[in-house]
């Protein structure tokens, strides 16, 4: 689905990402972890072509990308409703409006969100609205930037369920997460970014206490339960 070779992103004299290489097979899931400022969001933005970079980013032909950013800097009183956004997306993708309802159902949102201004939605509601927005075009790959950050516990569970269902449908998922339990449950592979070290591989093999200490800058206690990995 995705091949990345020697990807580097520079801003002025600063390396935001240096010489990253990894691949994401179709239908698999990649978790991206790292401390704040390690370039996780930069990586996603480079992958969708929003940042100039060196090296190569190759998506499989015909890949349809859905991107759910961590948050948008919205003004609260902007008169743009959920309906405005979703209908705009549906029209652009030439999808019938009926698919908006099913996209809302898939992310567990009630239709009344269509009438609300997007700036007044809670963090969790807005995340799920962006998810529904991405799902409207039946993406083959989803890029999720901390989809559960700032979302309450039930909201997190619902978001995780949605992601799991999409995985079961064969959607390739790239996920930035701070939550190691999520990483172990969801990810086929993990990519960790730190200032001077990157690692890539299967979570159980790569995420040694040593690596985790480097990623988070301090020792991290971790209990790996023997629940079935997906």
């Amino acid at each position: 689905m995705l091949e990345v070779e020697h990807l580097s992103v520079r801003l002025g004299d600063v390396d935001l990402l240096r010489d990253l290489s990894f691949s994401v097979p179709a239908g698999s899931s990649l978790a991206v972890i790292g401390p704040n400022g390690s370039g996780k969001t930069v990586l996603f933005r480079a992958l969708i072509g929003a940042l100039p970079h060196s090296g190569s980013v190759r998506w499989a032909p015909g890949a349809r990308i859905g991107y759910v950013p961590q948050k948008l800097d919205l003004e609260r009183d902007l008169p743009v409703t959920g309906r405005d956004l979703l209908f705009a997306r549906a029209r652009l993708a030439a999808r019938p409006p009926s698919e908006i309802d099913s996209a809302l159902t898939r992310v567990g949102l009630l239709p009344d969100v269509l009438k609300k201004l997007v700036g007044t939605l809670s963090g969790g509601q807005f995340q799920r609205l962006l998810m529904a927005f991405a799902l409207l075009t039946s993406p083959t790959v989803l890029l999720l930037d901390e989809p559960t950050a700032g979302v309450d516990e039930p909201g997190q569970e619902r978001m995780n369920d949605t992601v799991r269902r999409l995985q079961a449908e064969g959607v390739t998922v790239l996920l930035i997460s701070h939550d190691l339990s999520v990483v172990f449950r969801f990810a086929t592979n993990v990519l960790c970014l730190t200032r001077d070290h990157t690692c890539f591989g299967i979570p159980r093999e790569v995420l040694t206490p040593d690596i985790l200490a480097q990623v988070y800058g301090e020792p991290v206690g971790l209990f790996v339960h023997d629940e079935p990995a997906r």
Binding site: L11, R45, I48, G49, A50, I65, G66, Y67, P69, L72, L74, D77, L78, P79, V80, T81, R83, D84, L85, F87, A88, R89, R91, L92, A93, V118, L130, F133, A134, T137, L143
Partner: protein, 257 residues
């Protein structure tokens, strides 16, 4: 004293374009930038007068070049558009003032009403129609892009091209209003009705509709009022728009939403 029909039609279509472009300008966070951007017309007017061509043509060329300049800078630097426009086009105001004489400067800044030539009328109507058609056709792409250019990219929208088209449409709209409002006040007609609509509208369609209605109302009622009272047209139009904005503040407190 009545206004000629051609003048009414042209100013109304200019107002439609201003309301539409201004609404998206607010979403693009160009509130103050809209004002500064309109000042770039001045050096164009100055140069046009030096070479004895139609000042409005000179202004249009300067505005389109200004749009290209903003677009290029946005692509190369990470500065906010607001900052770029604020710096570059405030400088344009200074250069424009150096190139023009006192009376020409006042006309350029505040508008110079007078008989419309047929060429001006046709060019004006064509410009307003082009801007209106662009905003209505690109409506979905504009809203997704101004919400998040990253999401827009993954939706297959050519963000850079759309941004250039928007800025060019912005420049054309300022040029349309120069005769009636002048470079100093045209930015206000683009922003004030949109800002009022933003407070009152329940959704995007509502915002565009209210912004257009207020812009047309301010322009026509303001022109009529100016003619009745023997005042300059531009300042009266902007004052009418500003009164509408302050009235909208009051209605908001009563719980419009």
């Amino acid at each position: 004293m009545s206004l000629p029909a051609s003048s009414v039609i042209l100013s109304a279509s200019m107002a439609v374009a201003a309301g539409l472009i201004g609404s998206y300008g607010l979403m693009r966070r160009m509130t103050l930038a809209a004002d500064a951007f309109s000042h770039v017309a001045l050096p164009g007017i100055g140069v046009a007068i030096l070479f004895r061509v139609n000042p409005l043509a000179g202004a249009l060329v300067a505005l389109l070049l200004g749009a290209l300049l903003i677009w290029t800078l946005e692509g190369r630097t990470r500065l906010a558009t607001e900052t770029i426009i604020g710096v570059v086009f405030s400088a344009a105001l200074a250069i424009g003032a150096l190139l023009t004489t006192g009376e020409q400067l006042m006309d350029a800044l505040f508008g110079a009403p007078g008989a419309l030539s047929n060429v001006e009328l046709i060019a004006g109507l064509a410009g307003a129609a082009a801007v209106t058609a662009f905003v209505l056709l690109a409506r979905d792409r504009l809203i997704v892009t101004f919400l998040s250019s990253d999401i827009a990219r993954t939706a297959g929208i050519d963000v850079r091209r759309l941004s250039l088209l928007y800025l060019l449409a912005f420049g054309v709209t300022v040029a349309l209003g120069l005769r009636y409002l002048g470079a100093l006040l045209m930015g206000s007609l683009m922003i004030i009705p949109a800002a009022t609509a933003r407070r009152l509208a329940p959704n995007l369609t509502g915002m565009l509709t209210i912004a257009v209605a207020l812009s047309v109302f301010a322009t026509l009622f303001g022109s009529w009022l100016a003619a009745q009272t023997g005042r300059e047209t531009g300042p009266v139009i902007v004052s009418v728009a500003a009164v509408c904005f302050f009235l909208s503040l009051a209605s908001r407190r009563e719980g419009v939403r």
